[in-house]
């Protein structure tokens, strides 16, 4: 259930995410070695335009990418089609976007601004 | 008997989807007036059955470089030992040039090229020029796949897995009304009326113990034509390919072709004691023409007459197994799949019935004696005479299939209405086809084996009057037995055993004609070899045989060949032309 447009969207978002996730994993490995605390994470990220756009683009990309991916699985494995499939795609995409944005704000918004 | 028959109408009906049938469908569509309904009916799936798909070697066509239509024509006439209908042979050679361009430019085939981009051509045995266009050794797949796509993507009605069982004339017998068929998937009968019908069911001498054609070909067309009273010519002419695979009687692989190129490349034929024998029969050894090598192998088999070791062997290993593997990849793999090592070991071979030169008498436009019926391809007789050159078979079916489409497209303009069938004939054909359903069920296959033995032994590669007479007795006994063998009638949907029975009925009918025509030809020409009449006879006095059903009997007469273009001993090539353009091997 993929046409060229969805296919390109999925591939482009994947390409965007590739460096982001690798970067994220690298940071996490580094962080893990020092033990991880909420303060440490937030201290690094909150108020940083860099981390905002870093995780922001990840959230955008992943919502799109995973929604398309799940759409394919839903069609091939449980036979979802037509409106249900479209609804499912948008639903998962928006849900991921919403939750991702919430996390993004929590992690990167300057402390005390909300 | 109450006949339960569905009725269906069309304008142009085409039986068979080999090279002839598919080309006819395309040309009919181009030539017929707007709105003409075209239907193809076929025993198998469109383009996936029949022998055009199995063409290996290639397609004969004179495309210059010294070669000419005249030269192609002379090779065809001489190859056919002066028996061909010369007008048909000429048309074949001339139109092949157009058809190959059509195949490449309009249908989308891609044939092998030379490094400079032009078509690659090679020479089969019996040709005096490099003339055979090909796509590796899978030429037929390329031709049929491309034709099939064209037909599938057009608004042509498709009746797949529909078996034609009878040609039904009008009440006064002056024209064809339509064709009775069985929808094999449901087992129901269907009578299809049409203004014009092309029969292109492709002959197929599968009544021999060893045979090459595809399983769906069982001479149905010629049997139908015979029953419809049409004259059939050259019916004694069965071409054997010298090297058929011998894999045991129970294997469908048995009889399938090991390609000619193996011998061309230096493959040797060995007998049971490992000795080469072909030089005992011909100075060219293994490289002699098909008929000669077939007779050599057959004679050697008869000499050894060992039931445990039936065939001869082809050996390639002296050329280097790696080399053989590289050069004949497809063949080596095919043998390997059935358990033989072609590259390094010995593979058992026998001559195998390959092509049927005989067929319905037609004019150069494919018209027959029955108005509304057209015949093209291997079902039509005349173009090849006593022997078909390798590469002329597919040229014939595509050229004449196209011509049939054109002709029907034009003729149909003067046919305003569909004709009504003679309901009595319809009932007779229905009864004939349903006969086994009222008999006690029994095995059909042993009868097929018996017929194949009889034809191989008595009406095969080397023939005699006494053998063929015995053969006729055997055929008639088998036919009697067939009438006692029944097929359970509970479920006729896709009932292969019923169709095996019908196949046997067709094969028996045509086998009788082959034997009778063989008896009528008291000389040896091309594929027909009589031990009791080994001479070819005077070429100027050449005759062909014509068989026809009259009052329930098959009668064979002789007719003189009309040398309408060239007389024996003469040529139409300009004076001083070299005998052959093929570089000596």
């Amino acid at each position: 259930m993929l046409d060229l447009r969805l296919y390109m969207l999925q591939r482009i978002t994947a390409l965007i995410m590739a460096p982001l996730t690798l970067g994220h994993i690298a940071v996490m490995i580094y962080a893990v070695q020092g033990g991880l605390s909420a303060e440490e994470i937030l201290g690094r990220t909150q108020g940083s335009v860099f981390w905002f756009s870093f995780y922001g683009s990840f959230v955008l990309a992943v919502a799109t990418h995973a929604a398309i991916g799940l759409r394919v699985i839903a069609h091939e494995m449980i036979g979802l089609t037509g409106r249900a499939l479209t609804g499912f795609t948008w639903g998962t995409g928006l849900l991921l976007l919403a939750m991702g944005t919430q996390a993004l704000i929590a992690v990167t918004w300057p402390a005390g601004m909300t | 008997m109450a006949c339960n028959i569905d009725r269906h109408d069309t304008d142009i009906l085409i039986l068979g989807t080999g090279g002839a049938g598919l080309f006819a469908a395309l040309h009919a569509q181009q030539a017929a007036p707007e709105g003409t309904k075209i239907t193809v009916a076929v025993k198998g799936l469109i383009g996936k059955c029949g022998c055009t798909r199995m063409v290996q070697g290639g397609y004969n066509v004179a495309l210059g470089g010294g070669d000419t239509v005249e030269r192609h024509f002379m090779d065809t006439i001489e190859g056919g030992k002066w028996l061909p209908n010369q007008d048909m042979a000429w048309r074949l050679c001339e139109q092949a040039v157009v058809r190959i361009r059509e195949l490449e430019n309009e249908i989308g085939c891609f044939f092998d090229r030379n490094p400079d981009g032009t078509l690659h051509q090679k020479a089969f045995a019996g040709q005096t020029a490099d003339r055979t266009v090909h796509k590796g050794d899978l030429t037929g797949i390329e031709i049929i796949n491309r034709l099939m796509e064209q037909v599938l993507s057009r608004p042509v009605e498709k009746l797949q897995e529909h078996r034609a069982v009878g040609l039904i004339p009008t009440k006064d017998g002056s024209a064809l009304a339509g064709v009775l068929m069985i929808d094999m998937r449901t087992g129901r009968f269907r009578f299809v009326r049409a203004k014009t019908v092309l029969m292109a069911t492709g002959g197929g001498p599968t009544m021999y113990k060893y045979h090459t054609p595809s399983g769906d070909k069982t001479m149905d067309g010629l049997a139908m034509a015979l029953r419809a009273g049409l004259p059939l010519r050259d019916m004694e002419m069965v071409q054997f390919h010298p090297t058929g695979l011998l894999a045991g009687e129970h294997s469908r692989m048995t009889g399938t072709v090991l390609e000619e190129g193996l011998r061309g490349a230096g493959g040797q034929l060995l007998n049971a004691s490992g000795q080469r024998f072909m030089f005992d029969y011909d100075g060219k050894g293994e490289r002699a023409t098909r008929d000669v090598v077939s007779r050599g192998i057959y004679a050697e088999m008869r000499k050894s007459n060992d039931p445990d070791q039936v065939g001869m062997f082809i050996s390639m290993s002296h050329l280097g197994p790696e080399n053989v593997r590289a050069k004949f990849k497809g063949m080596v793999k095919r043998c390997e799949d059935s358990g033989f090592d072609l590259a390094g070991g010995l593979v058992e071979v026998v001559p195998t019935a390959h092509y049927f030169m005989g067929g319905v008498v037609v004019d150069v436009e494919t018209r027959t004696a029955l108005e509304g019926l057209y015949v093209a391809g291997e079902d039509a007789g005349g173009a090849h005479g006593s022997n078909r050159l390798g590469g002329n078979g597919v040229a014939n079916s595509t050229v004449y299939g196209g011509i049939a489409g054109d002709t029907m497209g034009v003729d149909i303009r003067s046919m305003t209405t569909l004709r009504d069938p003679d309901e009595e004939v319809l009932a007779v054909e229905y009864t004939r086809a349903t006969h086994p359903l009222s008999q006690a069920p029994d095995l059909v296959q042993p009868l097929r084996n018996r017929l194949q033995e009889a034809m191989w032994e008595d009406v095969g590669v080397i023939r005699t009057a006494s053998g063929m007479t015995r053969g006729l007795d055997r055929i008639s006994a088998i036919r009697d037995d067939l009438m006692q063998v029944g097929v359970a009638a509970e479920n006729l949907a896709f009932n292969l055993t019923w169709h095996d029975w019908l196949n046997m009925a067709s094969l028996c009918e045509v086998s009788e004609v082959i034997a009778k025509a063989g008896l009528a030809r008291e000389n040896s020409r091309g594929a027909h070899y009589r031990e009791d009449f080994p001479e070819a006879g005077a070429m100027e006095a050449s005759y062909f045989t014509v068989a026809q059903m009259q009052e329930g009997n098959v009668n064979v007469t002789r007719e003189d060949v009309d040398f309408s273009i060239v007389r024996p001993g003469e040529t139409i090539l300009p004076a001083g032309e070299p005998e052959t353009l093929v570089a000596a091997q």
């Binding site: 296919y7 | 996936k48 430019n105 899978l138 045991g248 469908r252 072709v257 799949d337 292969l496």
Partner: protein, 252 residues
């Protein structure tokens, strides 16, 4: 072992027997049925099935034509794998004297071992699989360099016998009824690279729709199972590449 050549000894089954289970039924459903078939030298799966129809159960239905791997009519599931049965030696697939034979996967069943191949061919046409002429029978045949890179690409898939084995092997086809499938897409790729073909853009459009090449997950079962060693997976990758390129081109 001496080859058994006479049919009588075939009936006696002297050289042991095979335990064959064959799917019987129609589009309404069905089940496997067991048969004992004499084991013979040089026996293919098609021979086994034919023996059953000839000597054990006259009502068994299957399909074949050429008997030598050229027509692609005889494909069935053998022990759960799609195969051309006329070229599959029993020895290759026998497991402890047993073999299971069923109708080709991913296509509707007509009866017993015969599948309806219409969806396969409909998709072949939908994928743009018919040549669009750029010349006529009155024109000379255009010279084409056989070594030209584009031509080599076109020639790679040309020997497809449309047997539908790849189609049966592909799990994407199983899950996505619209998916055109490996054979049809490979044909589209062949035509796209055919210098003589007149409508390349039509092909790109035909393979970019909902059932198009972008549904392929590069599972590669098509390439693994193709009996002719063709490589539809790479052909489909070629289509993805070209459509992706045209995606950017058309944006601009």
């Amino acid at each position: 072992m001496e080859p058994v050549t006479s049919q009588e000894s075939a009936l006696d089954g002297q050289s042991g027997t095979l335990e064959v289970s064959v799917w019987r039924g129609t589009s309404q459903g069905g089940d496997y049925q067991r048969f004992e078939v004499p084991a013979l030298e040089n026996q293919t799966i098609l021979d086994v099935v034919s023996w059953i129809q000839h000597y054990a159960d006259a009502t068994l239905t299957y399909r074949f034509a050429c008997r030598v791997g050229m027509c692609g009519s005889c494909a069935m599931m053998v022990n759960g794998q799609p195969r051309w049965t006329c070229r599959t030696h029993v020895k290759k697939v026998l497991k402890a004297g047993k073999v299971q034979i069923g109708p080709l996967r991913n296509l509707p069943v007509i009866k017993d071992l015969v599948a309806d191949m219409d969806p396969f061919f409909d998709k072949w046409v939908t994928a743009g699989g018919a040549h669009a002429p750029s010349a006529t029978r009155d024109d000379p045949i255009p010279p084409v360099d056989p070594q030209d890179a584009i031509r080599v690409e076109a020639s790679a898939g040309i020997e497809c016998i449309n047997c539908s084995i790849c189609y049966a092997a592909c799990d994407t086809v199983a899950g996505n009824p619209d998916y055109l499938g490996p054979a049809a897409l490979q044909r589209a790729w062949t035509l796209l690279n055919d210098a003589k073909h007149d409508a390349p853009h039509q092909i790109l459009d035909a393979v970019s729709g909902v059932g198009g090449c972008h549904n392929c997950h590069s599972m590669g079962s098509c390439t693994v199972f193709c009996p002719n060693d063709l490589d539809p997976m790479s052909a489909i990758a070629g289509l993805k590449r070209e459509t992706a390129k045209s995606f950017f081109r058309r944006r601009k």
